[in-house]
Symmetry: C2
């Protein structure tokens, strides 16, 4: 696999990203079969590789300039900074020179860049972004949408359920994944207009193993859903509240490794589902460990058949 890494993206870039690359190369056994394409300042990247004795690994340095800043207006940045690491990464991916691209940089710019150059899968109404959601048993379900579509129609959510099911099957190797709808009551007639209508669609869709509504008071403890469906506003709210929990656990210095399931560093970020590309978004605060795990995650998705399966499903739907 060829995985593109945005060396210039993130609050602690380029240092944290390069340290993450080093962890990936030296601490995983994937470095032999995967080539990293490092999009960044040539001088900085090359001297880091030399100083850390990393030149022996499968690496390609793609020189970039004109970094997109974290707070910058996304569309303007994408239009003007054509030589930036974000734009170049997307361009390389689109040309087929890399199999996946990941960035912890300006999320808006990454999304704007991807959405303006990569097509959504034919037949899909809206791409979305997904995130692992920790469960009490130490495994993760996948929650989607976590922020790409703040306003949704029931038909979008029905398709998110399909995207999530294929993702769970192809990437997480879950057979017949169980799908739940995030809602404020267990009964089908509970919820807002969106979830009430979505419940009926999911119930009647033979391609979804729908197990019903999931209330957030069961989110971490008892539920068994592999895929949790929500509109992007609600999904983002739930994701950020979970982040707040982890912060609280750290602030109170709770000594229990179990709560590390809430540490985003374990998976590094979210992936965009439903486009004809493999693009992952890292957390702005990404640490080296988070970058390492984001590369592993990208590699795993790129090696899977998830994109092909998405296309097969929606082309025939």
């Amino acid at each position: 696999m060829k995985i593109g890494v945005d060396v210039q993206g993130g609050d602690f870039a380029p240092q944290a990203v390069l340290d993450g690359v080093k962890l990936f190369l030296t601490e995983t056994d994937l470095a032999g079969s995967t080539t990293l394409y490092l999009f960044g300042n040539e001088e900085v990247v090359k001297s880091y590789l030399a100083e850390n004795d990393l030149e022996k690994y499968n690496l390609v340095v793609i020189p970039t300039e004109d970094d997109v800043e974290m707070g910058e207006s996304p569309t303007r940045a994408i239009a003007k900074k054509r030589k930036s690491s974000i734009v170049q990464g997307i361009v390389y991916h689109q040309k087929g020179e890399i199999d996946a691209f990941l960035s912890a940089g300006n999320t808006g710019a990454l999304l704007a860049g991807v959405m303006s150059t990569v097509k959504p899968i034919a037949g899909l109404l809206r791409p979305c972004i997904s995130s692992p959601m920790p469960k009490f048993n130490g495994t993760y379900g996948v929650l989607l949408d976590v922020g790409l579509n703040a306003d949704c129609k029931p038909e979008y959510l029905e398709q998110f359920a399909i995207l999530g099911s294929i993702y769970a099957r192809e990437v997480q190797h879950v057979e017949n994944p169980k799908v739940a709808l995030l809602n404020i009551g267990e009964e089908p007639e509970k919820g807002n207009l969106l979830t009430k209508a979505t419940h009926q669609l999911l119930k009647n869709n033979p391609n979804i193993n729908f197990i019903g509504n999931l209330e957030p008071n069961h989110l971490f403890c008892e539920h068994e859903a592999d895929v949790i469906v929500a509109d992007g506003f609600t999904g983002n709210i739930v994701l950020k509240e979970a982040e707040s929990i982890y912060k609280l656990i750290k602030q109170r210095k709770v000594q229990d490794d179990f709560f590390e399931i809430f540490n985003y560093e374990n998976y590094g970020g979210t992936s965009i589902l439903g486009i004809d590309a493999t693009v992952l978004i890292g957390h702005g605060h990404s640490s080296p460990v988070a970058i390492k795990n984001l590369i592993i995650h990208a590699d795993e998705i790129a090696r899977s058949h998830v994109r092909t399966k998405f296309k097969e499903y929606f082309e025939n739907a």
Copy 2:
């Protein structure tokens, strides 16, 4: 004050409710100035009072029959079970014989009963329900709506901000309460259609001390909002996820009393705001401690000028 208590409502009623009444009478100094009206099975209540030597307190027993069950259809129950504790409590409150009524019973039935007999305050578009939201410093903000209005218009949320501000001022004694809008981004242009429009209304309303959007990753740790505004769907999601956190803390046997701020027993339940009555909804699982604190909370609201202030504001708005 005269506070009505639904002895028959709740998963562990009547035992847990009566035990909660006992805690209120014997452990607080409010029993001298407050009379409890106990709506329930006369024989059960009277023998409990005798056995526990509680007959010396200011108590009135209102005999009821035909309990509304927890899973029962709300509207049918309210229409048919006119002698039930829920219906009788509401009737007594409406006649002015009690100053507040509280129940841990069938929430739907309580709401249906209240909404069909008590008028919303003139000028208010929608009543809502509120809940305390714990903060890192050990205090609570008030979150509203937490479930009464799953689908909202921006104008509803603007009025919730007013209700919350008056509540914070009159009941929690916060001067010039800070209001935040629950949202998925800090910037005014972030969010869904509802929050984007609401942000503008809140910003331009001179009667609200609006401090901007609040993302849930700051919910427990850093924010300083006294009032947090959300539609009832999102508010309920956030409340239930917080409940899940507390369950997780308990399951993992974390020894840190700080996390007791997440224990609903501390405040017992939610209050309905914006109606010409003081009605509090307890958690279905209410323990005796939760009932005791719910009575204290009801007493506090009944003694405040919150209803008068609501009416003054909306009549003149």
